[in-house]
């Protein structure tokens, strides 16, 4: 799989279709984002699979937004999994990236990863390598829904008080780009106090991610307090899907019901 992708990327670079390819490199025992340029060897090029599939991922789209702002005339290639591509579609919709300045190079995730993530779309449309893996069902949300109110309350308050307000969940999120963040608004979140306002802090973020979150799970991985953030946002996504038939980034060019005025269609 990786060889096919490398060849594809090398082709894009030598044909000058892209100014650079934003991918991952393994260097000195670490995996990190890297911009591969023409003439540079693709040694160290990695998909972010170390011990297990997808265990060294990065929010490459976030770097891509920064790159595109600095070089608006250039076209870049970017490595994508299914969720990353959903992120690209979302960022096109939200005017953070221009579609014809981005060439996604996609690969699919293995079935085990799809299942562990309970992923809606474990493969990108721009599939360069791999097969279309089956999507998986939401199980953990249903499990939580099955508990009674008091148990849910107990579970979530115990989780939320663990928060150390490091903002890692927001900072790693490829779909968070606002210059002014509600989580830094002192009327909502008092400065310096711990624990954070329960459940205001986490539910504010959940609401703001309702039509953005692409379920990449990076926030969940980044959280030093192991708060199951992804489960929370999976619920918001489920509500968006059942009530509005919308899932962030699932279909290209689909507008969010939250940014439309007028009666529901």
């Amino acid at each position: 799989m990786i060889e096919t992708i490398k060849q594809h990327v090398a082709g894009l670079l030598t044909e000058k279709k892209i100014a650079g390819f934003l991918g991952l490199i393994e260097k000195n025992g670490h995996v990190a984002p890297h911009l591969f340029k023409d003439g540079e060897s693709l040694a160290g090029f990695t998909l972010g699979d170390r011990k297990t599939a997808g265990d060294a991922r990065y929010p490459l789209n976030k770097t891509l937004v920064t790159l595109s702002r600095a070089y608006p005339e250039e076209t870049f290639g970017v490595l994508v999994r299914g969720c990353d591509e959903r992120g690209l579609y979302g960022l096109f919709r939200l005017n953070q990236l221009t579609e014809d300045r981005v060439i996604p190079v996609g690969f699919s995730c293995p079935a085990e990863l799809s299942e562990a993530c309970e992923c809606r779309k474990p493969y990108p449309d721009s599939l360069v390598a791999g097969e279309k893996t089956e999507s998986s069902q939401l199980k953990k949300v249903a499990e939580m829904d099955g508990k009674d109110l008091a148990r849910r309350f107990d579970f979530w308050t115990a989780q939320f008080v663990k928060c150390v307000k490091c903002y890692g969940c927001r900072d790693v999120c490829p779909m968070c780009f606002c210059k002014e963040c509600s989580l830094e608004c002192e009327d909502l979140v008092a400065k310096g106090d711990l624990p954070v306002e329960v459940p205001v802090f986490h539910l504010t973020r959940a609401m703001h991610m309702a039509d953005r979150c692409v379920d990449c799970g990076l926030c969940d991985e980044a959280c030093p307090s192991d708060i199951p953030l992804r489960l929370l946002y999976k619920k918001t996504a489920q509500i968006m899907d059942t009530d509005y038939g919308f899932t962030s980034g699932l279909n290209k060019n689909e507008r969010s019901p939250l940014s439309q005025m007028g009666p529901a269609k």
């Binding site: 109110l149 309350f153 107990d154 979530w156 308050t157 008080v161 539910l203 929370l232």
Partner: protein, 60 residues
Amino acid sequence: MLDFTGIEKERLRARWVSSAEAPEFVEEVNAFIDTLKELGPSPLKAAVEAKKEEQKEAPA
């Protein structure tokens, strides 16, 4: 989302009331107050305090 995190969803209410509809507003607020009285005080504050204590006692 409140419901998902174990808080009675009746504790939050959103209604559109025009500034020309004072009686509707009063009625709405009164009804909400009744609902809240029925629900009683929120367990949130006490629960957060209790969980904080628990965590102090058992450092991870």
